[in-house]
Amino acid sequence: MVAAIEPPAHRRPWRLPRLVGWRSPLRGRGALIGAAAVLIVIAAVSIAAPLITDVSPQELDPISRLLPPAADHWFGTDGLGRDVFARTLYGGRISLLVGFGVAVLTTVFGLLIGAIAGFARLADELIMRVMDGLMAIPGILLAAALMAVSHPGLTTVIVAISVPEVPRMVRLVRSMVLSVRERPFVEAAVLSGTRLPRLLLRHVIPNILAPVVVQATFAFAMAILLESYLSLLGAGIPPGIPSWGNIITDSINTVRTAFWPILFPGLFVAITVLAVNILGDSLRDFLDPRFVRQVRMAGSAP
């Protein structure tokens, strides 16, 4: 990667924008490494939660309710006297799992449906109209409605959040497949008698993987946000297993007296999502700058 070139100082009131050699501070190698480091730390403290704290995230302590952050409770306690620090660390396991699960599901189904749409002209029209319809429903509502008709649990939350994310991936994959399949090496493969599954796996998918990976990181970020929103709407992961979303939701009734049970898990959500978004942005530049436009136009997840 080329190191960022500092633009000259500007005193004049007017200049035409010059973008060659310019990189945003939230992109480039430094941002990539920084964001990855933050994510690794968050994942590590979540996985190693039992080693870091010996307090159980579900342990009730009625005497020490709503204690502000202090030496023995770093993030304070909630309305039931549970340790917010322990809950936030353990909650990260579930929330990160949701993000990861949604990213994987979205990628698998996006690749599958997108490739079919890109190759089968008959199915294309039907698939794309269904995707248009799904995209017309706000993602949170779509996921919440799916949660309302199913038994709440970790798996259902992952599936419910994936459904509104898949259409974006399908659009991206389809547009990439349409451009790749006109390239000479695909034509050569078809002419030499390559069958469709092999053609997809060996020739098409490797060539569209970069923007797909980038889109998957955005799905990951969106999933972490949506998990917390779903809990807040009463359609999230049941309170038996702490996730960032339901830790926050559990403390909403006491928010006026104690902000910390919401602040700390909320900050973990914000930092994780920010890091994933930065990672996605810099990964996009890193993998292939030519794909920037295509990912944007397919509607990257905000």
Binding site: P7, H10, P13, W14, L16, P17, R18, L19, W22, S24, P25, L26, R129, V130, D132, G133, L134, M135, A136, I137, P138, G139, I140, L141, L142, A144, A145, L146, M147, A148, V149, S150, H151, A221, L225, S228, Y229, L232, L233, G234, A235, I248, V255, R256, F259, I262, L263, G266, L267, V269, A270, V273, L274, N277, I278, D281, R296, G299, P302
Partner: protein, 313 residues
């Protein structure tokens, strides 16, 4: 133009059909008998049978869909299982707070993000540009409720500057109406603002490198004129498109924001319907929200000819 408008209008039908089929299938996607799901764990068989006939669940699926679709086309979205009130009436009662919040958020975020985006594009590559874009990425990533609760605690609970929660209709006076809307608007506007600032900057940067901008500058026009008249006009199409696509984001965010600030709007109605398993209300709300998204984007597509005379259909 007329044939384009007609074609675009026809294109709405398959999209709304997909939304309709999804909404209809929602009841049948879940595990088990939908009537039992609605009635809850303590229902008697007689209650379940009553809900069965109420929703027409004893008919074959295509008949149910046909009947349901026919009712919807006649403006009948069914009756709330929980309160017995018609869904159309429920939505009509709750739509005003949500509409007020949505309009104030669009006005607020456009008024702030477009100048910010223009400024960042004009100063592309400088520290100002970097900070604006860094802020946009951060605003993107912050959970809506965190911003909302933080503001509520500081401005409402601690400083008593603004009402903590709730909503006041316009009939209660202009200031009560506005003061209740300020915090929810800023909360919800955060994400929208980030989205619009990013696209404004990107679109403006592209336009500012065009020859006609240099020409406009060379003939001695003021920078302000060039930016707002020559550049912004030509950069408008992607910005307006993003405003339209962002409607889905706005509606979703409004549901969360209304929950945080206890605003009795459609978002609150949605949350109540989900916790009460009130399927006709959930179905009606998704149809309405989907319809709003489709209609807004249709209008925006048709408005392109006004924005950019080069676009001819």
């Amino acid at each position: 133009m007329v044939s384009y408008a007609a074609r675009r209008l026809l294109g709405v039908i398959p999209v709304m059909l997909v939304v309709g089929v999804f909404v209809f299938m929602l009841l049948h996607l879940g595990a088990g008998d939908p009537a039992a799901l609605i009635a809850g764990d303590f229902a008697t068989p007689a209650q379940i049978a009553h809900i069965h006939t109420l929703l027409g669940l004893d008919q074959p699926l295509p008949v149910q869909f046909g009947r349901w679709g026919w009712n919807i086309l006649h403006g009948n979205l069914g009756v709330s299982v929980f309160s017995g009130v018609s869904v159309v009436k429920l939505i009509g009662e709750r739509i005003w707070p949500t509409l007020a919040l949505a309009v104030s958020t669009i006005v607020f975020s456009c008024a702030l993000s477009i100048p910010l985006g223009i400024f960042a594009a004009w100063r592309a590559g400088t520290a100002i540009d970097r900070s604006v874009m860094a802020l946009a990425v951060a605003a993107f990533s912050f959970p809506v409720f965190l911003v909302g609760y933080a503001m509520m605690i500081v401005l409402g609970v601690n400083w008593h500057i603004l009402p903590v929660q709730g909503y006041a209709p316009l009939s209660a006076g202009l200031w009560p109406f506005l003061s209740h809307l300020i915090m929810p608007t800023v909360t919800l506007g955060f994400v929208y603002l980030a989205l619009l600032a990013r696209i404004t900057r990107a679109s403006m940067v592209e336009v500012l490198s065009q020859d006609y901008i240099r020409t406009a500058r060379a003939k001695g026009l003021k920078m302000r004129t060039v930016l707002t008249v020559h550049a912004l006009k030509n950069a408008a199409v992607p910005i307006v498109t993003t405003i339209g696509n962002g409607i889905a984001l706005l509606i979703g965010g409004a549901v969360v924001t209304e929950t945080v600030f206890a605003i009795p709007g459609l978002g609150r109605l949605t949350v109540d319907a989900i916790t009460q398993h009130d399927y006709p209300v959930i179905q009606g709300l998704i149809l309405v929200f989907g319809g709003v998204y489709v209609v807004v984007n249709l209008l925006i597509d048709l408005a392109y000819t006004l924005l950019d005379p080069r676009i001819r259909y």
